[in-house]
C-alpha cells in the first residue's frame, strides 16, 4: 500500500543514521543497498501509472539509485504528473525522517544513547546523488530536522550546524575527490558500522565527509560521555570476570555468530559484548593502551555480568534523559521549577557537556549543564550550574546509610563538575571560556525515599555546598 512506503524510507534513514539499536528490524539495511546494482530505469519499478509508490522498498531504492532519482526529479521539474506525484511522496518521507531523527538523535526519544550519535556520513550512502534531486531531498531533511529540533529548544548554533552538514556535506564531497574517494569511504564505513552493537563513536569520528561542526560535536560528546561513564562503571563492576592466565584467555574469546544458548545472534548486547571482550583482551596483551585512569589491565567480565551491567547502564541513561526532559520543560515554562536553579532569565540546558579542568587532563561530562544566557557576555559572570544524576535504592535505609551513600556522590560531583572549568562544546555560548561553576547539583531518583530520609539528605547536601534534587522517573 502506498501509505506504507514513506514509512519504509523513514525507517531506513533512522536505522542507518542512528546506529543499529534504534531502528526497526524491518528496515532496508545499508548492506543490502551496497549490493544493489541499478537496473535500467523504468517508472514501473517504483510506482503505478499515477505515480503512487508500489512495493515496500521502492522509495529506499529510488533515492539510493542516483541516476533514477535525478531522472524523476528532472521529469517532475518539467511538469510530468507522474514524476511530480512520485517525487512529492519522497519529499514527504524525508520530511518525516528529519523530524524523527531530531527527536531521537537529540535525545528526546531514543533510549540507547551510545548508538544514537548521528552517523551523518551514511546519509551519503542512503542518498548518494549530489545533483539537484538529491540536494532537494537533503534540504528538506535538514529543514524538518531543524524545525523539530527548534521546537525542542535546541540552540540555533546547533541547528545551523545540522543544516550545513546536511546540505553542505554534498558539496564538500564533490570537491573531495570523486569516485575513488567515495569508494574508500564506503569501505571504511562498512568496516566500522557492521559490528552489530559497536558503539557509534568510531563511526562518528570518521572525519571524511562531514565538516567539524557543532551538531557533530554534540553527538560525539554525547557518545564520548556515555562511553566514559560506561567505562567507569565497567571498571568498578564487581561481577565475575575471567580468572585464567592471559595465555589461556584466548580460548574463551566470544564469537559473534555463536552466542550462549538462549541469546539470539542479533541480541544488541551480545554484539557489544564481543567488541568489549576484544578490547579488554587487547589491553591485557598490550596491543591497546589502557583507558585513562586505569593502572592495571582488567580481565573481561563474563557475559552475564556484562549484560547486567549494560542493563543497569541503560536504566541510568533513561533516568538522565528523564531529568533533561524535565529541565527542558521547566525552561520552556519559564517559571522556575524543581530542577532548574531559581531566578534564571534565559536558562540554556545542555546534557553530556564536556568540561576540561585546569589540574587534570581528563574531560568530565556533566549530565546536565545549565547556564543563564542572560549572564553570558563581556564583563558578565556567567551563572552556570552543573548536574550529576544518580540512582540508588534507598528503600529501607536509615538516614545514616542514605547520607553515607550521598557523601561520596557529593565529593565526586564537586571534584568532577565543580570549580573552574572550560566548556568544550563548540556552539555552546561558553565554548572555550573558563568559568567558575556557580553550583554543583545532584539529582537523585526520589521514588523509594521516605520523607525523613529526604530531609536528612537535603541538609547534608547544604552542608557540602551541593544542591540536591529529587526526580521521580
Amino acid at each position: 500500500m502506498p501509505r506504507h512506503l514513506p514509512l519504509a524510507l523513514l525507517l531506513a534513514l533512522s536505522t542507518v543514521l542512528l546506529g543499529s539499536d534504534c531502528g526497526a528490524p524491518e528496515a532496508v539495511s545499508l548492506e543490502e543497498l551496497r549490493k544493489d546494482v541499478a537496473p535500467p530505469f523504468d517508472y514501473s519499478r517504483y510506482c503505478d501509472a499515477e505515480g503512487r509508490l508500489v512495493g515496500d522498498r521502492s522509495a529506499v531504492l529510488l533515492v539510493h539509485r542516483s541516476e533514477h532519482l535525478e531522472r524523476v526529479y528532472a521529469d517532475a521539474q518539467a511538469g510530468d504528473a507522474r514524476a511530480v506525484a512520485l517525487f512529492s511522496q519522497l519529499e514527504n518521507a524525508v520530511r518525516l525522517s528529519g523530524a524523527g531523527l531530531a527527536n531521537e538523535a537529540l535525545g528526546f526519544k531514543c533510549a540507547t544513547a551510545p548508538a544514537c550519535a548521528l552517523q551523518w556520513h551514511f546519509l551519503d550512502e542512503m542518498i548518494p546523488s549530489r545533483q539537484a534531486g538529491g540536494v532537494r531531498l537533503r534540504e528538506l531533511l535538514a529543514d524538518s530536522f531543524a524545525r523539530q529540533a527548534k521546537l525542542k529548544g535546541v540552540s540555533n548554533a546547533v541547528l545551523n550546524a545540522a543544516l550545513s552538514v546536511l546540505v553542505a556535506g554534498t558539496a564538500l564531497k564533490v570537491g573531495a575527490g570523486g569516485a575513488a574517494g567515495a569508494e574508500a569511504a564506503t569501505a571504511e564505513a562498512r568496516a566500522s558500522s557492521m559490528e552489530a552493537g559497536q558503539l557509534a563513536r568510531e563511526a562518528a569520528l570518521e572525519q571524511r565527509w562531514v565538516p567539524s561542526l557543532e551538531v557533530r560535536a554534540t553527538a560525539e560528546e554525547a557518545t564520548a560521555a556515555t562511553e566514559a561513564q560506561l567505562a567507569e562503571a565497567e571498571a568498578l563492576d564487581r561481577g565475575p570476570r575471567y580468572s585464567v592466565s592471559v595465555e589461556e584467555l584466548e580460548r574463551y574469546r566470544p564469537v559473534y555468530s555463536r552466542p550462549p544458548s538462549g541469546v539470539p545472534t542479533d541480541h544488541p548486547r551480545w554484539g557489544k559484548y564481543v567488541a568489549y571482550w576484544a578490547r579488554r583482551y587487547d589491553e591485557l596483551t598490550g596491543k591497546r593502551p589502557l583507558p585513562p585512569g586505569e593502572t592495571e589491565a582488567k580481565f573481561p567480565l563474563m557475559w552475564t555480568g556484562y549484560d547486567a551491567l549494560l542493563g543497569r547502564f541503560q536504566r541510568s541513561l533513561e533516568f538522565q534523559r528523564g531529568v533533561t526532559q524535565e529541565m527542558l520543560q521547566e525552561a520552556r515554562a519559564a517559571g522556575g521549577g524543581q530542577l532548574l536553579p531559581q531566578g534564571m532569565k534565559r536558562p540554556l540546558v545542555a546534557d553530556n557537556l564536556g568540561l576540561a579542568h585546569e589540574d587534570s587532563a581528563t574531560i568530565t561530562y556533566s549530565d546536565q549543564f545549565v547556564v543563564d544566557e542572560a549572564t553570558v557576555g563581556p564583563g558578565k559572570r556567567p551563572n552556570a550550574h552543573s548536574y550529576s544524576d544518580k540512582q540508588h535504592d534507598f528503600s529501607g535505609k536509615s538516614p545514616e546509610d542514605a547520607v553515607k551513600q550521598f557523601r561520596p556522590d557529593a565529593k565526586e560531583a564537586i571534584t568532577k563538575y565543580g570549580g573552574a572549568v572550560e566548556v568544550r562544546r563548540r556552539g555552546h555560548p561558553l565554548f572555550g571560556q573558563k568559568v567558575v561553576v556557580t553550583r554543583v547539583h545532584i539529582v537523585y531518583d526520589g521514588e523509594n525515599l521516605s520523607a525523613e530520609v529526604r530531609e536528612a539528605l537535603l541538609i547534608e547536601a547544604r552542608a557540602q555546598g551541593v544542591e540536591l534534587h529529587f526526580h521521580v522517573p
Partner: protein, 446 residues
Amino acid sequence: MSPDEWNKSDEFMLDLYSPLNPFDRGFEGLEPVLEVIESLEPELRPDKLSLKRDLKYSRQMLRKRFHETVFGGSVRSLMLVRSKPPEGRLTLTGAVRDHGPEFSVSLHLRPFAFFREPGQAEKRAEHLLTLVRAMAAHLPLSLGRGHSFVDLCMGPDPHVKDTSPDRPIYEVFWLNIFGPHMVERIGRQRLLSTPCALMEELPGGAFLWLTRPTPADFDSEEARLAQARALVHLRPELSLESTLATLRQRSLVFTPIPIQFHPDVAEILSREVDIRGLKHKRQNVELFNHYRPPPVSEWIPASECPPPDVDNVSVRIATYTNRSAEELIALFHTPVPAVMDGTLEALPRLDWHLWHNRWGKDITQDQRVTLMTALGAWLGRYLVNLLGGRWVPRKNIFESAVIIGDRAWLPFLRAYRGLSGLDAPLDYSCTQFFREAQRLSRQHTH
C-alpha cells in the same frame, strides 16, 4: 497507641555554628573539638568514623585518614556515626559560605523517644547542655538550636539554607543559641527579658537559652505556649494568637490517631504511610482507614474447574514453579530481597513495591504479560507450598488453577488484575489473595 509508637521516625537534632573553622588548622586544629566529642556521655557518643568505609572511631585512625575529609571546593567534612541505639550521626563541616567561613557541628539522634524516657529526660537534656558549653569553650558560637527534626522541618525556619548572622528570627526552639551579632541586633536587654526556662551567657558572647527544661515535651501545650511567647517577645510585630495556632496545628502531627487498616492490606498501607513521612501520617492514616479492598473473586468451585488440557502436565507445572517464579525473583530480588526466601513477609513487601513504583500503570503491554506470568506462578507456588494446593495447568493461562479443598484459585487472573491500573497492586494484592485462600483452607481442614 502511644506518641512514641506513633512517631518512630523523628530525630532529635542539635546544630551549632561558629565563624571560626578549626579545619583551617588541619587535624591539630580539630583536636579540641574531638576531645569534646570523646568526652560525651557513652549513651550519646558516636563510635564509628564514616570515611571511604566505616571504621571504628579512634583519634589515631582519623589522623591517618584525615585527607579523606576533603570534599573539594572549600568544604571539609567528617561524619561520625553512632551505630547503637539511639542511632545517629554527628557531622563536622568546615566551609566558606556567602557570609564567610563557617564551622558546624550537627548531631542527630533517633528515636526522639530517647529524650522522653521517664526518669532519664532531665539527665539527657543536661548532657546536651554540657556538650554545648564544652563546644563554646573552644569555639565562638554564632547560631544554634536543638529540637525535634520533623517539627523544625515543618516550620518557616530555612534551617541550613541560611545560617548567616543577619538572618531573621524565624522561630524559637527547645534550645536556642544566639551569637553576639544577633544579641546586638535584638538588644541585650530584650533578649535577657525573654520568657524562658534558662538563659545563660556562653564564652565568646553568645547566649544559650531554653524554652523548656527538656526537649521531651516540645509539642505539648505548655511548650508551644512558651515557644510562642518567646518568639512574640523577640518579634513584637507577631501576634501571640496566630503564632500559637500555627504551633498547635503542628503538634497534631505528633498526636496519634487510631490505625484501623483492613488487616489483609495493613502491612502494605503501613509501609506507604511510613515512606510518606510523619508530617503526613495523620492525613494518610485517615485516608487508608477508610480503604477496603474488593473481596477476592479470582476463584471458582473446584467442582467446576476444567481438567488439565496441556500436553504434558508435569512439564507445565515445572515451568510454573521453576522458570516463571524464578523470573519474578530475578526481577525483584534487589528491591525486595524477601522474594527470595519464600516467607510470608515477601507478599506484602512485593505488593507494596509494585504499588508504590507504579507497576500497575507505567508498563507496556509486553511487560505486563511477562510480569503477569511470573507473578501468577510465584503466587501459585505459595498456595502449593504453604497451603498444600495442587496445580491444574490449562492452555489458557487464566484458567490455570491451584486447587485447595473445594476451591480452585486462579493466581494468574489475580496477577493480571493486580497489574491493570495505578492502584491495582493494592486492590488485587497477592497478600489478600493468599490470606483468603489460607482462611478457607483452614475452615476446610477443621
